[in-house]
């Protein structure tokens, strides 16, 4: 495949809340919950942030870093499970806000947490077929867990944008492979505010099976073993699952070091694996092989086998914040302010 990542940018809102603070309100051992999930804190969007604003901020950074003329973008796909509108695309607002309109195609993707990786695959197809010079794939969410539910300790907000093209590629996509089945581990019905999940069933038959199968199959197809990868990024609904799946597959902690960001910002759903990949690219030099395996409930995994090119050495990352700064910083909120910001307080009226 001669297409790959030309530029990228990530964005995480400024506010944070700790599992201990959430547990304090619900009479639960929040600290213990945080330890068992390996989540130190999670990000919280400001009241004026949503999937559209997060996607736009991430893409603006990517366009400046890559010196990309937005008028050369042929497609923008935004993957999310928290699109602000049920009907009216996120992607058109983002396209207008970065100056990419009107000569492009745009659409919203939805596949739980893997809509962003599905968007990358679509862009690879378009760019590879010569139908677009650049394709933009964004994974972004302002995910919510029902108050007091286990999901509330990790569901957070953030996103990353990737520009896919054939010229000035900083990370070449050697191959991509998906593993998809009908597995009812997590869902949200139309009109429901919060998602539902099937508890422990979200583990073995869902996350672990799809992640390991997809990873094994792409390595088999590529003729590689874990040793050949400098970095690995898994979907990270919490900080523990990806560590366990990495160990199962034979990856070391050093290989997972940059790709695991959930402990410090929570589970950004469609943004999770992609922010992990952005953090890897923040640190990677030329000729480093990267394995990315995303996962979306319902269920499926998308894997990418990437190799950084010489161009990454000259890639100017100075514009925008590195992912590490989002992991290190943030303003902690009380549960009350968090509930206000997330619209969990009933204000009366219609």
């Amino acid at each position: 495949m001669d297409a790959g990542i030309v530029s990228y940018g990530a964005y995480v809102p400024r506010y944070r809340i700790t599992p201990a603070e959430i547990g304090r309100v619900w009479g639960a051992d929040g600290e213990g919950m945080g330890q068992s999930l390996n989540v130190v804190r999670k990000s919280v969007p400001a009241p004026d942030e949503d999937t559209i604003t997060i996607s736009t901020e991430a893409l603006r950074v990517a366009l400046v870093r890559g010196a990309i003329d937005p008028q050369q973008i042929g497609a923008i796909y935004v993957g999310s499970e928290s699109h602000p509108y049920a009907v009216k695309p996120t992607a058109t607002v983002v396209a207008q806000a970065v100056g990419a309109t009107p000569n492009l195609t745009a659409a919203d993707f939805e596949f739980a947490c893997k809509a962003g990786t599905a968007a990358i695959q679509t862009c690879l197809g378009l760019v590879g077929a010569g139908m677009a010079k650049y394709g933009v794939a964004i994974g972004s969410d302002t995910s919510q867990g029902a108050p007091g539910d286990a999901l509330e300790y990790s569901a957070s907000a953030g996103g990353a944008a990737f520009v896919i093209g054939r010229d000035h590629v900083i990370a070449r996509v050697e191959r991509t492979l998906s593993y998809t089945t009908d597995t009812p581990d997590f869902w949200r019905r139309e009109g429901q505010r919060y998602p539902s999940h099937s508890g422990r069933f979200t583990g073995e038959p869902a996350y672990f099976r799809h992640e390991t199968e997809c990873a094994r199959r792409i390595m088999e197809a590529a003729g590689t073993t874990p040793k050949e990868y400098r970095h690995v990024v898994f979907h990270q609904p919490n900080g523990k699952f990806p560590q366990r799946v990495g160990k199962q597959l034979g990856f070391t902690e050093d290989q997972m070091r940059y790709g695991l960001v959930t402990p410090y910002i929570g589970n950004t759903y469609s943004g999770a694996a992609l922010i992990g990949l952005a953090n890897v690219l923040d640190h990677a030099g030329p000729n480093e092989r990267i394995l990315v395996v995303g996962y979306g409930s319902g269920a499926g995994s998308d894997a990418f086998d990437l190799t950084t090119t010489d161009a990454i050495a000259e890639f100017d990352r100075s514009y925008g914040r590195p992912v590490q700064s989002y992991l290190d910083s943030g303003v902690e909120l009380s549960y009350g302010v968090y509930a206000k910001y997330r619209g969990k307080i009933h204000m009366g009226g219609s």
Partner: protein
């Protein structure tokens, strides 16, 4: 605000689309069709070109709002500032991602894309620029505007030469 009126303003609200006098170089936001200040007042007619502001600037003055406008109740207290952009025009905008007590005159800020208001639970959502602190951010690389109005510099032709 009506949907149509807001929609007409999206180039300004989304992308800080202003105008520039090709005679004297003065930048205007919102855009003007005639340059009112330069010596070529009449000659500037038809010679104003679209110009996109970078979004970089500094706080010229500000006030802290405790009695919110409708739709801003969740954000009280919040700061409304006059921001002098690096290109010259002074814009009014909310300063976000910083506690009101930490805002000061001269603070370096950068435009950020945010939700401005919602027309109730079922209505349209309006988006546009606000400002966030940029003190610890590196400067914008030269020749790389945010893109949107006209042909951005630093794009394909520059890359080919590099």
């Amino acid at each position: 605000m009506s949907i149509a009126r807001f929609w007409r303003e999206t180039p300004r609200r989304y992308n800080l689309g202003g105008s520039k006098c090709t005679m004297c170089g003065t930048v205007y936001f919102p855009p003007r069709a005639v340059c009112p200040t330069c010596a070529h007042h009449r000659e500037s007619i038809g010679k104003m070109e679209p110009f996109q502001l970078s979004g970089d600037g500094e706080v010229f003055s500000y006030t802290t709002v405790h009695e919110p406008a409708e739709g801003f109740e969740m954000q009280v207290p919040y700061v409304l500032a006059l921001v002098r952009t690096v290109e010259g025009p002074v814009l009014t905008g909310q300063v976000v991602d910083l506690a009101p007590e930490d805002v000061r005159i001269g603070l370096k800020v950068r435009a950020t894309f945010r939700k401005l208001r919602e027309e109730g639970k079922a209505g349209v959502i309006h988006y546009g620029y606000k400002f966030a602190p940029a003190e610890d951010l590196p400067n914008r690389p030269p020749g790389r505007p945010r893109g949107a109005v006209g042909a951005p510099a630093g794009s394909e032709s520059d890359r080919a030469a590099a």
